[in-house]
């Protein structure tokens, strides 16, 4: 029962809304909890036991840390244990076997068949953040286990996040705000926008991406480049579209969830891109890994010493020491694969290099008399960032690091421009109509994003339109989803990409 399915949108969500609204205000959060657990049971079956265990562990740990701060590390390790074992055991076992088999012929670690509970990476981070916030005395430990259980299992956020902070979401979840027509309309608007992005663009591009990535040996560098761009767009449309549905669901209940995307493809640098893409994951790592590591005694001392010798290189050292664990964790958080670790370290290298090269690039700009605030220079920066992101996503989607490297190499060794017009692109599962539709939908998304980037509140603008015009617009989007959404005969249902992380 993913968020874009009829089951969720037509049955589950309305049922939860009716039950919520009928309940007295102070008990409404119990309805959300009940529906959260039912939702989780529907998607994970008996694996629900893991989220229950995590909730009990987090609850008791919170109470303990509030009294004795020294237990933080122990409690975090206890909390992470399930995630570490279920998600990473086979990765470490396989690599351990590989290393040991160099020396002896034995393979001491047995690989195990494990099913990962959906959302474990998301709710574990939310729970860890809750414990660290208690440690930092930002919030008190929650005394009502039901409230904590709801925080970790709120059904719109359980599959793909956003990763929430208890201090912010707690207040929202337990307020028991009524569902009003205004909230229903606002939430539905956002949900339909998410469906538009996911079903018109992301799910349609899935065919092309799958075809090329599964049989990359059969395609030249041009097609691989197209697939890498297509995957980047698919991932954004899918993940941000899903976040629109999630945030829209929250809006219906009067619950403001944190935004996870802020028009990332307008970013001028890779660092900026990561402040706009999967924002809640980035800010989690920034707050709970980057700052604590950068400000940890020995690291602080090392950065200070480097700073005394040379201010710039001191800053680079401080940033690099803090960034390395962040990007290593970011890579490995996505899954137990070398390609994900490579993906994380790719961004570590890019961001560290950009800080290290800052004086050099400023000198270059002065030398060539480049106007850094000109529109053309901004366009160049946006294009450069997009290119770097696409390269990262090529490795991210590839079935392993070796395949990623082979695909990347093909872009340079087998680049054949004629693939753009010789019909190859029409053999990838999409016809002319599909390309036109994707192009049209992307144009709509682009202009709306551009308006928002320029400071317009598009949602408010739409709300202020005359009634007939406003509803024509809503019906157009609904109709576009019904008529052109990627489903029905010939289309395989497309899973939510980030639910697998």
């Amino acid at each position: 029962m993913a968020y874009h399915t009829t089951l969720y949108l037509v049955l589950f969500l309305p049922a939860s809304m009716i039950a919520y609204q009928l309940m007295p205000v102070k008990y409404r959060f119990y309805v959300l909890l009940l529906f959260g657990y039912y939702f989780y049971y529907c998607i994970s079956g008996t694996l629900i036991i893991y989220i229950m265990a995590a909730t009990i562990t987090t609850y008791l740990s919170g109470l303990l840390i509030e009294k004795k701060k020294g237990f933080l590390i122990f409690c975090i390790l206890l909390l992470m244990e399930n995630l570490a074992y279920m998600k990473y055991y086979n990765f470490f076992a396989a690599n351990g076997n590989r290393i040991i088999s160099f020396i002896t012929s034995e393979q001491p670690f047995t690989l195990k068949a494990m099913i990962l509970p959906i959302g474990i990476s998301f709710y574990t981070l939310s729970a860890a953040g809750y414990l660290i916030d208690i440690y930092y005395k930002k919030i008190p430990a929650e005394k009502n286990i039901g409230k904590l259980a709801l925080f970790l299992s709120f059904f719109p956020t359980i599959m793909e996040g956003p990763i929430c902070r208890y201090g912010e979401l707690g207040r929202e979840l337990f307020a028991g705000r009524s569902i009003t027509m205004e909230r229903l309309a606002t939430g539905a608007q956002r949900i339909f926008w998410g469906l538009f992005k996911k079903m018109l663009v992301a799910d349609r591009l899935d065919v092309l991406v799958k075809t090329v990535y599964d049989g990359y040996q059969n395609y030249d560098g041009t097609v691989i480049s197209v697939a890498a761009v297509a995957y980047t767009i698919q991932l954004y449309m899918e993940f941000s579209g899903c976040m629109d549905i999630v945030i829209g669901t929250g809006e219906i209940f009067g619950i403001t969830l944190p935004e996870n995307f802020r028009r990332p493809f307008f970013s001028k640098t890779v660092s900026e891109f990561w402040r706009r893409w999967h924002i809640t994951l980035g800010s989690w790592f920034k707050e709970y890994v980057f700052y604590p590591v950068s400000m940890w005694g020995p690291v602080r001392k090392l950065s200070r010493t480097a700073r005394k010798h040379n201010r710039h290189w001191g800053e680079v050292t401080a940033a690099a020491l803090g960034l390395f664990p962040v990007w290593l964790c970011n890579g490995i958080w996505h899954g137990p694969r070398w390609s994900y670790i490579f993906y994380g370290l790719y961004y570590f290298v890019l961001i560290t290099l950009s800080i290290a090269m800052r004086p050099c690039s400023e000198k270059l700009c002065r030398f060539f008399k480049l106007n850094q605030s000109s529109a053309l220079y901004h366009l160049f920066q946006v294009g450069r960032t997009f290119l770097l992101v696409v390269i990262g996503e090529l490795f991210f989607r590839a079935e392993g690091l070796r395949i990623g490297l082979q695909m990347f190499a093909r872009i340079f060794t087998q680049f054949n421009l004629s693939s753009f017009w010789n019909g190859t692109l029409l053999t990838l599962g999409l016809d002319r109509g599909d390309y036109l539709l994707i192009g049209a939908a992307l144009t709509v998304v682009f202009f709306i994003s551009l308006a928002e980037e320029k400071g317009r509140d598009v949602r408010r603008d739409i709300k202020q339109l005359p009634l007939p015009l406003r509803w024509s617009l809503y019906y157009s989007v609904m109709l576009a989803i019904c008529l052109f959404g990627a489903y029905g005969v010939g289309y395989m249902p497309v899973e939510l990409i980030y639910a697998n992380f």
Partner: protein, 72 residues
């Protein structure tokens, strides 16, 4: 104020109230700022202090410095 001006000269620190929320100071600049403030005022800033409320304006920063000086 001088420390802030050195970090990001184009900002009006007398007026600006959203140094963090408006992404004027990124995490690297914050680390630099923390190092400068610690050296100048002989205080110790912990990761728990790095929240928007403490870093959003020059006034908020000064209030944090005063508090940390008292706690020293």
């Amino acid at each position: 104020m001088k420390i802030l001006q050195e970090l990001e000269p184009d900002v009006n620190y007398m007026e600006e109230q959203a140094l963090i929320d408006a992404h004027i100071l990124d995490s690297f600049l914050i680390l630099e700022l923390v190092a400068e403030l610690e050296d100048t005022y002989h205080i110790r800033i912990s990761p728990a202090d790095i929240v928007a409320e403490n870093f959003n304006s020059a006034k908020a920063l000064w209030q944090m410095i005063e508090r940390l000086k008292e706690e020293r």
